[in-house]
């Protein structure tokens, strides 16, 4: 059975109720914002629900929005229901002061490395993660490279900036 995004929206709203802070259909995916402390419960509900069966975690990652005060980080989850051939996107925003969220490795074992990668690049910590270490970067690194404060060289610059060539 194939669900449309509108049907999915009404079903998810019926299932989750007040846990949904905001929802919209962005291109072909329903995008739902959930409070960070609710994310584990919400994903467990979506996974275990007999009707919806979002049993496959497609992607998990972070985003950094330095301008949004107290919502600097987002953790984005893409779940996939093969029964209904539909995806859903879940977002939880975290403050820079305490970028911590529950791990979902107990629900989806494949989240393990994706959460480690998110920690590695954004410094978002996952509570109850079995082995939260850096994964792609070196262990001794003391910064989180995908944060926006580490700007790459501006491609539209008009003069060469020596800082970018190792000359201070």
């Amino acid at each position: 059975m194939v669900l449309s995004n509108e049907d999915l929206k009404s079903q998810v709203e019926a299932l989750l109720g007040a846990d949904i802070l905001h929802s919209e259909i962005n291109f072909d995916i329903l995008s739902i914002e959930v409070a960070a402390d609710k994310i584990h419960a919400v994903i467990a509900q979506l996974q275990k629900d007999e009707m919806l069966r979002f049993e496959f975690l497609t992607l998990l990652g972070g985003v950094h929005y330095p301008e949004q005060v107290d919502r600097e980080f987002a953790v984005v989850y893409h779940l996939h229901s093969w029964k209904h051939k539909i995806r859903v996107r879940l977002k939880a925003f975290l403050p820079l002061s305490n970028p911590s969220i529950d791990s979902i490795t107990d629900l989806y074992p494949c989240a393990n490395w994706m959460e480690r990668e998110t920690y590695d690049f954004y410094g978002i910590t996952f509570a109850n993660h079995p082995d939260l270490r850096r994964i792609l970067n070196e262990d001794s690194m003391d910064y989180f490279p995908l944060r926006k404060e580490y700007a790459l060289e501006d491609a539209t610059r008009e003069d060469k900036d020596d800082r970018f060539f190792g000359r201070f």
Binding site: F27, F56, L59, R89, P109, D154
Partner: protein
């Protein structure tokens, strides 16, 4: 000694821990990072009792090149060369997948001919990818001949790429909106001759391994995974299908007109090395079927869509036409108009669901681009698959999983 063992053998782990400390029977060996059998740069620290693997731990990231960070400063058309370097055994799939993602964002209307041309190229890439993976399984079981046979055929596929885009390995094929040129007469000749000769050469090679007693004994039951565990570990692509789950992005979320073609999704039963090998072999045959259908019904029409903001105009127009000149500068300087939005688009890559999660804030570069790299996700299952197996089984399990270091480490 035996009494001591009994005392501590409550669980297997405890037993081995004590064994290690008491009499040093457990050896720790490094499988990789640079080892002829890893086919890429990744390390596995194996704990072995004699020949049997007790536990293993992977280290990844040796060739991390910060693609996601690089993508945040590059204009959209300059990201295509980055995608080449993910799964470099099938770079055209990565390139075209990225182009389709951007086209979805700008809601471009793509001519049917472009779709069919893309299908032909993506299926050629899938054949090349599977040929390498399956021939490497042959090498690791000791059959070096089976490595050289398919490389002749792969060479022909690379010549076809060359005819389209000039490059062979890191292809940077096509453009956002279509291709830089139509299929050339040489391409038509070469593709026709490939379609004629490949099936025969392929079945000759296939017969060396597929029903070979030695190969079957070696690969059956090696590195198995159940469908439940495969799903939990986020398997996609041939590895998942070998475990018996028929998920294929081409069928579930058809892109580039895949719904027009008739093909079978092969599935395995045991999820072991032999099944993974056989699923790939069958996918090669199905890819040939798809190419024959697409090439036989190649629609008339243009080889590019009408997206002047993204598609670099012809050189003659740039010199003679003011509008084309403006577009040329805008594209080269990366000043295209991009709508805001968030997109997730995925294609069936050589080794699984290759996804692009793109956030655009309307700027000249993506605000965030995350790649769903299939082998990064399913490689997590490797320790579970090889525990209890021998070291030589670990080697063929690794090669049959088609873990590509470039994609693993981004």
């Amino acid at each position: 000694m035996s009494k001591e063992k009994e005392k501590v053998s409550n669980s297997a782990a405890e037993f081995y821990n004590s064994k290690e400390t008491i009499d040093g029977d457990i050896a720790t060996i490094n499988f990789g990072p640079t080892h002829p059998a890893t086919h890429g740069i990744f390390q596995n620290i194996l704990k072995v009792d004699g020949e049997k693997i007790i536990s293993s731990e992977q280290t990844v990231g040796y060739i991390h090149r910060a693609f996601e960070k690089l993508a945040e400063r590059r204009p959209y058309n300059q990201i295509t060369p980055i995608t080449d370097r993910l799964n470099y055994c099938s770079s055209p799939i990565n390139n075209l997948g990225w182009h389709m993602t951007v086209e979805k964002l700008i809601q471009a209307e793509i001519p049917k001919r472009v779709d069919y041309m893309r299908v032909i190229i993506m299926e050629l890439a899938r054949i090349a990818d599977h040929l390498i993976c399956d021939s490497v399984v042959g090498v690791d079981t000791g059959a070096l001949t089976s490595f050289f046979y398919p490389f002749q055929e792969r060479e022909k596929i690379y010549e076809l790429y060359e005819e389209i885009c000039g490059a062979r390995l890191t292809t940077n094929i096509g453009r956002i909106g279509g291709f830089e040129r139509d299929f050339t007469p040489v391409f038509h000749t070469k593709l026709k001759s490939f379609l004629k000769t490949f099936p025969k050469a392929f079945s000759e090679w296939d017969s060396m391994l597929a029903r070979n007693r030695i190969f079957m004994d070696r690969t059956r039951g090696t590195g198995p995974i159940s469908p439940e565990r495969a799903l939990a570990y986020g398997f996609t692509g041939p590895n998942l299908r070998a475990a018996g789950v028929d998920y294929d992005v081409r069928v579930m979320h058809p892109y580039s007109s895949y719904e027009d073609f008739d093909f079978i999704i092969p599935v395995g039963v045991n999820g072991d090395t032999y099944d993974r090998f056989m699923v790939r072999q069958e996918e090669i045959r199905q890819s040939i079927r798809i190419i024959e259908q697409a090439y036989g019904n190649l629609p008339e029409g243009n080889y590019k869509a009408d997206v002047p903001d993204f598609y670099l105009p012809d050189k003659a127009d740039v010199y003679n036409n003011m509008e084309a000149l403006i577009y040329h500068f805008k594209i080269v300087m990366g000043e295209m108009e991009i709508p805001r939005g968030e997109i997730y688009h995925s294609v069936e890559g050589g080794n699984g669901e290759l996804g692009y999660y793109l956030i655009s804030d309307g700027g000249r570069t993506p605000y965030r681009l995350q790649f769903r790299r299939p082998c990064f996700i399913y490689y997590q299952a490797y320790p579970e698959m090889i525990t209890g197996q021998t070291i030589s089984d670990a080697v063929i399990t690794l090669s049959s999983m088609n873990v590509i270091a470039g994609e693993l480490d981004a």
